[in-house]
């Protein structure tokens, strides 16, 4: 596949916070219709990498190209083809679900008819909460609104920062189904997660990042196969059968990060 076909191409990314080198020379790409997982312990550089992809952080060097647009040089074009779900609450607590959807429809230039609004609300199972203020919604409901807005403008690339945190199993399953639907439409998804189960279940390829460096990148099964004989991976295994979590612990260590 030609590099022009990549939905996202990250090349030699280096991000600093003052003197602290947070992301070291990270490179990867995401293909159309691919669900790509970025895994790593706390503070490994996942959210920093994602922020650089979103254009919220200016890298010291390297480039981020989204659907042909350099995020630093053509931020508006790049943002127009990206859908984002952030970790934080992200919306005005005083606005209702409908008002937030209308706000972002206006921002993304999407015509929001009453029928379309109802369709979105039904899709995220919030038709009864249309007039409810965002601040009054449960964590799971807020996540659903956030995901609906991330996909409102039919983006070519969807960035999800720990999307299933705080979700009950039903909501999690629903999110995975929605991701599958997006994949079928040839949209690419880049997600960060701490859940190995989620990564194994939904991601086509996974990159493991630690101390700001990309230490492994492959399909979940290939990561397991290529690392299952390593002593540190075997010692991390609890049930005999090597899982993605064992590979992750083996590669990033057992020490708890702050």
């Amino acid at each position: 596949m030609n590099t022009d076909d990549y939905i996202l191409q990250v090349k030699g990314l280096n991000v600093y916070y003052g003197a602290f080198h947070a992301v070291h020379d990270v490179s990867f790409h995401v293909l159309p219709g691919e669900i790509f997982g970025l895994l790593g312990p706390n503070g490994a550089g996942k959210t920093t990498t994602l922020s650089a992809v979103e254009g919220l952080l200016k890298p010291r060097s390297g480039s981020v190209i989204v659907s042909g647009y350099d995020v630093q040089e053509k931020p508006l074009h790049a943002h127009a083809v990206i859908g984002v779900q952030l970790q934080a609450t992200s919306f005005q607590a005083e606005l209702t679900v409908s008002e937030i959807l209308k706000l972002y429809a206006g921002i993304y230039g999407v015509a929001m008819t009453r029928e379309k609004l109802m369709h979105i609300l039904q899709d995220i199972k919030l038709e009864d909460a249309a007039g409810k203020k965002f601040g009054q919604l449960s964590g799971g409901q807020q996540q659903r609104v956030s995901l609906a807005i991330a996909t409102l403008h039919d983006p070519r690339l969807v960035l999800l920062d720990e999307p299933t945190t705080g979700l009950d199993p039903q909501s999690r399953r629903q999110l995975w189904e929605r991701m599958e639907t997006m994949r079928e439409k040839d949209h690419a998804i880049l997600l960060t997660t701490h859940s190995m189960e989620e990564a194994e279940a939904v991601c086509d390829r996974i990159a493991i990042i630690d101390h700001g460096r990309l230490i492994a990148i492959d399909t979940p099964q290939s990561l397991i196969d290529s690392n299952k004989t390593k002593p540190e991976v075997i010692s991390a295994s609890r049930r005999g059968k090597i899982t993605l979590e064992d590979v992750f612990i083996g590669l990033t260590g057992k020490t708890i990060r702050s």
Binding site: V81, L86, L103, I107
Partner: protein
């Protein structure tokens, strides 16, 4: 594949609708901010003749402007930044200035509303009336004065990240401005202090508002006060914008 960027005017109107709705939903706290100038006008009912109508109205408008800039604007910015509202808006296809322009336009409307309320209260409670030119110029000077306190509010959210600390700091500064400003200007704290207060952001704003109410009293001192007010607004805005971070994480 062709990528369409939404028109800035469409984006701005969507933001404005949302920001005005948010302001409306928070109307109780805003009305409390407006209540202080009205209470002052009520409590000064018996001494307005002695103080002068322009003095009373300009004091009340200035206090309202301090409240809007310091408590209304900066607290809403600090709170939304903490929740990630700005971060989410910044990953949308629009220039970042649209976010702040919308917020400032809402505050501009609040300044106009404050001025109207003070005028109405002044006329009904203290029978203070101005010439039509006085009303018109006061709107203008109130907006210029309001820019000083919006700029100061911007400095506070630029220097302080935590929304609770922003809240307590703005309350403290608001209290200091009112007490030192009012008493200092009346000479209660000594002549030297009076001089400092007159040329402080509180004093210059109050003077241009009072002079705007009586255009015939405008002199070179008022022009100096106007230039200083513009200077304060520019200085605070530059520092506030330079120090401001969209994200406090």
């Amino acid at each position: 594949m062709q990528t369409t960027i939404p028109k800035t005017s469409t984006v701005l109107s969507s933001l404005l609708r949302a920001d005005f709705t948010t302001q409306w939903r928070n109307r109780r706290s805003f009305l409390l901010l407006l209540l202080v100038p009205v209470i002052i006008l009520i409590s000064w009912k018996g001494i307005v003749d002695k103080l002068g109508g322009a003095f009373a109205l300009s004091t009340c408008i200035t206090i309202g402007l301090v409240a809007i800039g310091l408590m209304g604007y900066s607290n809403s910015i600090a709170r939304d930044r903490d929740k990630g509202v700005f971060q989410r808006l910044r990953v949308a296809p629009m220039p970042s200035w649209c976010i702040m322009a919308s917020r400032l336009l809402v505050q501009l409307m609040m300044i106009i509303l404050l001025t109207v309320i003070v005028f109405i209260a002044g006329r009904n409670i203290d029978q203070i009336t101005l010439a039509p030119a006085g009303y018109a110029i006061t709107f203008l000077t109130a907006i210029i004065g309001g820019a000083v306190y919006l700029g100061l509010g911007q400095v506070i959210v630029g220097l302080i990240q935590n929304p609770e600390t922003v809240n307590s700091t703005t309350r403290l500064i608001y209290f200091v401005f009112i007490m030192v400003g009012m008493f200092g200007e009346l000479g209660v704290l000594g002549d030297q202090f009076k001089e400092i207060v007159i040329w402080s952001p509180y004093g210059t704003v109050k003077r241009i508002i009072a002079a705007g109410m009586q255009p015939e009293t405008w002199n070179t001192e008022m022009t100096t006060a106007l230039l200083l007010t513009i200077g304060y607004a520019a200085l605070f805005s530059v520092i506030g914008i330079k120090k401001f971070k969209w994200n406090n994480r």
